[in-house]
């Protein structure tokens, strides 16, 4: 039992890490005047500082999807091992997926504006995670290479699907395309490419939590897998055209790294999958050699849904709705706002985790 908990710790810490990067990105969204003229679907960067501030957040969505896939696989295995019937275990994840879609359409969508308006008719990252969790239940019992193959097929055909012609005037065609393939007003996080990352997360979970059963193995093999994906991503980027959406001027430039995120290009997904795996390797190594360095991150990583839903609501209400420094500052203001929010969210996450740990309430367990 202790060994299992330790594995959870580094996963929690990694989730906490990407949660904090996400807070930094969202602090920028609310405090940084860059966003007055910034189009995330066509990002242009006025300085290196602004590029870093934005690009750091690119790790978050792949990180959350990969972790969601990994945790669904792990929880499912553990439930079944405990004696829960497979169908019942899957039903729990269908409910959880639907709950996430509902949270997206109600709380999350409205919280961006500080609850100034109720805006349920569009989706986002939480809904994409929710739908991916539901889809995962259909393949969670298959062997790892089947799931890996499905992910590969999706990632390979997605660049062609993006090019599909459809009638943009048709609400249903647009909604379907945005639900699964492309990004737009209705949904910036189309399910297919993000579900592929969740599938890859579920594949990695089998190795992290079962096959590579000691720390050294986990580190070395994760390092190799992550490194290979990063290299393959670089090859895709360097060869160009297929798997790329944005052009770049030269290797190492902003444009080279910041390929399209909405929807994610093949390069984007391979690149960040590689980095997520490398980070997980790094976090489990840190957990072994210097656990005190990253322990605090676990506070956030244990309640990621609560953390996500609350930090946007606080920023939405106090910064946007009360118009407190809303997009008035630059990088410094963003960092100060981020630091203040981090302190607040650490306390809130710790408080909620204590409640969640002893609660048997269905809704609280879902959050």
């Amino acid at each position: 039992m202790t060994a299992v908990k330790k594995r959870f710790d580094y996963i929690d810490q990694f989730r906490g890490f990407i949660g904090i990067l996400m807070l930094l990105g969202h602090s920028s969204y609310y405090f940084n005047d860059l966003w007055l003229a910034f189009d995330p679907l066509n990002p242009l960067f006025p300085s290196q500082g602004q590029f870093i501030l934005r690009y750091i957040g690119y790790l978050c969505a792949p990180g959350f999807l990969i972790m969601a896939g990994a945790m669904v696989w792990l929880s499912y295995q553990r439930s079944v091992e405990k004696g829960t019937k497979p169908l019942k275990a899957k039903w729990y994840y269908v409910q959880r997926g639907l709950f996430l879609v509902l949270v997206q359409m109600t709380w999350v969508n409205s919280s961006w504006s500080g609850f100034a308006r109720f805006d349920p008719w569009h989706l986002g990252i939480i809904a994409s995670i929710g739908i991916s969790v539901i889809l995962l239940t259909t393949v969670i019992t298959t062997r790892w290479y089947i799931r890996g193959l499905i992910a590969a097929v999706i990632l390979i055909i997605h660049p062609f699907l993006v090019e599909l012609n459809y009638n943009v005037e048709s609400v249903w065609q647009s909604a379907l395309m945005q639900l699964f393939v492309i990004s737009g007003e209705f949904n910036k996080y189309p399910v297919l490419p993000w579900f592929a990352l969740a599938l890859l997360g579920s594949v990695m979970a089998g190795f992290w939590f079962k096959v590579w059963n000691d720390s050294k193995k986990r580190f070395i093999y994760s390092f190799i897998v992550g490194g290979v994906f990063v290299l393959v991503a670089l090859v895709v980027r360097l060869v160009g055209v297929y798997g790329n959406i944005f052009e770049y001027s030269e290797i190492g430039s902003f444009a080279f790294f910041a390929d399209q995120k909405y929807p994610p290009s093949l390069f984007h997904n391979l690149w960040f999958f590689g980095w997520v795996v490398l980070f997980v390797a790094m976090f489990q190594a840190i957990a072994k050699y210097a656990p005190y360095l990253t322990r605090f991150l676990g506070i956030v990583g244990k309640v990621p849904m609560f953390y996500y839903a609350i930090h946007i609501a606080i920023l939405g209400i106090f910064v946007k709705r009360f118009d407190f420094l809303y997009r008035e500052g630059g990088i410094t203001t963003t960092l100060i706002g981020f630091a203040v929010m981090l302190v607040v969210m650490m306390f809130l996450a710790r408080w909620f985790y204590k409640i969640k740990a002893r609660s048997t309430n269905y809704l609280i367990r879902m959050i």
Binding site: D33, L36, A37, F38, D39, N42, P43, L44, F45, P46, S47, Q48, F51, I52, Y55, I56, K216, F219, F223, G240, F246, E247, Y248, S249, E250, G252, S253, F254, A255, F256, F257, A258, W275, L278, M282, A285, I286, K288, Y289, R327
Partner: protein, 408 residues
């Protein structure tokens, strides 16, 4: 230890992955006030940015360039971005964005350009209308791929303020004088106060510090003279051909006309529909002429169809206007103390005291140096009232006599 080293390796790779700028982080300010992020190496695209209010249709050359533009209907700010793309660049698509940023840092409009090295276009162009926009500080940003490479601030101002700033920018001066010397190519005795008078003119000469560009082989200006009541007293299009001296841009109006009102006159110089120079002068009533006493000079008038058949008019006599009739004047200089080579001017004044006809005469060229003759027609169009004849020498009156004209 091995693992710790690998952790350090990861951190370094992460720093690399944060992306590198291909430009210097500290920008320079170019001569035309563009904030320019110079490339770190010569293989990078160079850009230069120009903003203008208009452009020449033939050459698409920007005009009224600068950083101040008027907020008004149909007014536009045009942006031209000259690209200098090194030959070493591959023929891959080169992506540029021109972003117009509002006074509050908000995106007004972003235009994307995708060029290839073999494209002939080397200038990016974009524009925005100014009507309805608030006055203040705006910004134009140029991105090469995802990276800011240049930006230029500009100001939308009230259209009146803009006119002043563009005049200052072109550096046009407009001066006045009664006479212009073609030989010296300059105004003689430049002034801004003039008196009406017979045969008098006000000339204006325009000088440029920065010569406006030609459109094709020609450049056109409009000179507009505004009367004190704001009405256009006179306007004229002046076309100058390439090779002609643009500094010789001149115009003039007569100020001996009885219809010319006194008061403050304004002269505007327009290039396209933009005023690029303005100046004013004050027109005052004709100065009263002084007398020069050179002895007794009798003047006699007679009326008739010819001098020989004409009948003398007494001092109080009233001449009646008849068809083909004339008033003849005879001026006797026999008792005058004057130089025999002197020049005189005979001036005929209408009932309003305005000289309506004048003629210069040199004594030495007269058949009889002691007698100067003059005449005016007397027809039904001539106004009734008190007319005068005066003899002027060296700008002063040496003799004057009046007669009345009445209707038949």
């Amino acid at each position: 230890m091995n693992d710790k080293a690998q952790i350090c390796f990861f951190v370094l790779i992460l720093l690399f992955a944060a992306g590198c700028t291909t430009r210097q982080s500290e920008p320079i300010l170019t001569e035309n006030n563009t904030i320019y992020y110079t490339p770190k190496d010569s293989m990078q695209v160079k850009v230069s940015v120009e903003l203008g209010r208009k452009f020449l249709k033939a050459t698409r050359q920007p005009i009224f360039t600068g950083q101040h533009f008027p907020v008004a209907k149909d007014e536009t700010v045009h942006a031209w971005v000259d690209l200098d793309m090194p030959d070493e660049l591959s023929n891959a698509e080169q992506v540029f964005h021109i972003q117009w940023v509002g006074t509050h840092g908000d995106d007004l409009y972003t235009k994307e350009f995708n060029l290839r090295m073999d494209d002939t276009a080397s200038v990016l162009y974009s524009s925005i209308f100014t009507e309805g926009r608030e006055q203040g500080n705006y910004n134009l940003r140029i991105y090469y791929f995802r990276e800011l490479v240049a930006e230029k601030h500009f100001y939308l101002v009230d259209s009146a303020k803009y006119a002043d700033s563009i005049s200052e920018n072109v550096g046009t001066t407009l001066s006045f004088g009664e006479k212009y010397s073609r030989k010296k190519q300059q105004l003689l005795n430049p002034d801004t106060i003039f008196h009406k008078g017979p045969g008098k003119w006000v000339n204006t000469v325009v000088r440029f510090r920065n010569e406006p560009p030609f459109e094709g082989d020609q450049v056109k200006f409009k000179v507009e003279w505004l009367a004190p009541n704001g009405d256009v007293a006179y306007d004229k299009w002046i076309k100058l051909n390439r090779g002609e001296d643009i500094d010789l841009l001149r115009s003039s109006i007569s100020i001996d006309d009885k219809d010319r009102d006194t008061g403050l006159y304004t002269v505007n110089l327009y290039w396209f529909d933009q005023r690029i120079a303005q100046n004013q002068f004050r027109l005052k009533p004709q100065k009263k002429m002084e007398w020069l006493h050179v002895g007794h000079i009798p003047i006699t008038f007679s009326i008739g169809k010819s001098r020989k058949s004409s009948s003398p008019l007494s001092i109080q006599a009233k001449a009646t206007a008849g068809k083909g009739e004339k008033i003849y004047a005879s001026i006797d200089l026999s008792n005058a103390r004057i130089n025999p080579n002197a020049t005189f001017e005979i001036q005929w004044l209408n009932p309003e005291g305005i000289v309506f006809f004048s003629k210069k005469k040199k004594l030495s060229e007269q058949k009889n140096p002691a007698k100067v003759l003059g005449s005016i027609s007397l027809n039904s169009k001539r106004d009734t009232g008190k007319y005068s004849l005066r003899l002027v020498h060296k700008g002063k009156i040496i003799a004057q006599k009046s007669f009345n004209v009445v209707n038949k």
